[in-house]
Subunit: 164 residues, 2 copies
């Protein structure tokens, strides 16, 4: 069971956009520049960021001067929002309802709901989601600023100074 | 992010072994018979059950009369034990430490520990594990018996009556 690498990329990119945009309007941030931060493959990062656009987390501007901006404040983006944008809404445990093929199995029963193993796995999945939903990107930003106070300005400077 | 199908197979098979063995010694249960319960592919189920043997959850007997037995009581097997046997111990979030490649990144820093995004993802993973560790297979067995009281005897009968 592995989360897509894009989850890590997307979370870091959203925080970076937060710091870039704090500087005032610097326009949409091009994918190539956002990828440069961590030497990520731009085309694959673009695919992940488009998934965030579809969930209303980022907005994108097409064209040669185009790129990405935050579509809402970091206070209004939970970690779960980003994970769901990349991974989809399905739980980690994909109950195949094997009880249906078992002795006494009933084609009309929804074993995803009635099977007690499925219920336990779903409960754990909800605990994971609840934890991720309890953190916004603003919470993480705040802890970064508290521990690494230079990060916002150095991120912004790096982005602006190497832009052209 | 998906768990291996083998997690569902392994959890159901452990419960079935519990019911089969309650009847007194019926010998090791052959993989082919355990697979028959749910029309599962025997070779692939065998692979999953061997993973449970490596974690000390089942024991296996080789040879033509061979098969699997529980190596410990259902009270002493948590759902997490089974999940870890199949999926391994790694967390769902596989931090690639992209901060190391970023502006100011330090080759000597362990960003799996210091990165605040990584910390959040690890915290959610621990919540998931804690939930799965809080349930033993005996807990699930008890709820099954309470809701579906015929399950133990019908499982056992099906196994014994179609054995030969």
């Amino acid at each position: 069971m592995k989360l897509n690498q894009g989850v890590e990329w997307a979370l870091h990119t959203c925080l970076n956009l937060g710091w870039i945009e704090e500087a005032g309007d610097v326009g949409a941030a091009p994918t190539a520049r956002l990828a440069d931060f961590y030497d990520l493959p731009p085309a694959y990062l673009n695919k992940q960021l488009q998934a965030l656009v579809r969930e209303g987390i980022l907005s994108s501007t097409p064209g040669p001067r185009g790129g990405f901006r935050l579509a809402r404040r970091l206070e209004d983006i939970t970690v779960l929002d980003v994970v769901v944008a990349i991974e989809g809404r399905a739980g980690a445990f994909d109950c195949a309802q094997i009880l249906r093929s078992g002795p006494g199995g009933d084609a009309g029963t929804n074993y995803r709901e009635s099977c007690l193993i499925s219920q336990t796995m779903t409960k754990a999945d909800l605990a994971w989601r609840k934890e991720l939903a309890s953190e916004t990107l603003a919470d993480i930003r705040e802890r970064v600023v508290s521990l690494y106070p230079d990060t916002p300005s150095s991120t912004r400077s790096w982005f602006l100074n190497t832009k052209h």
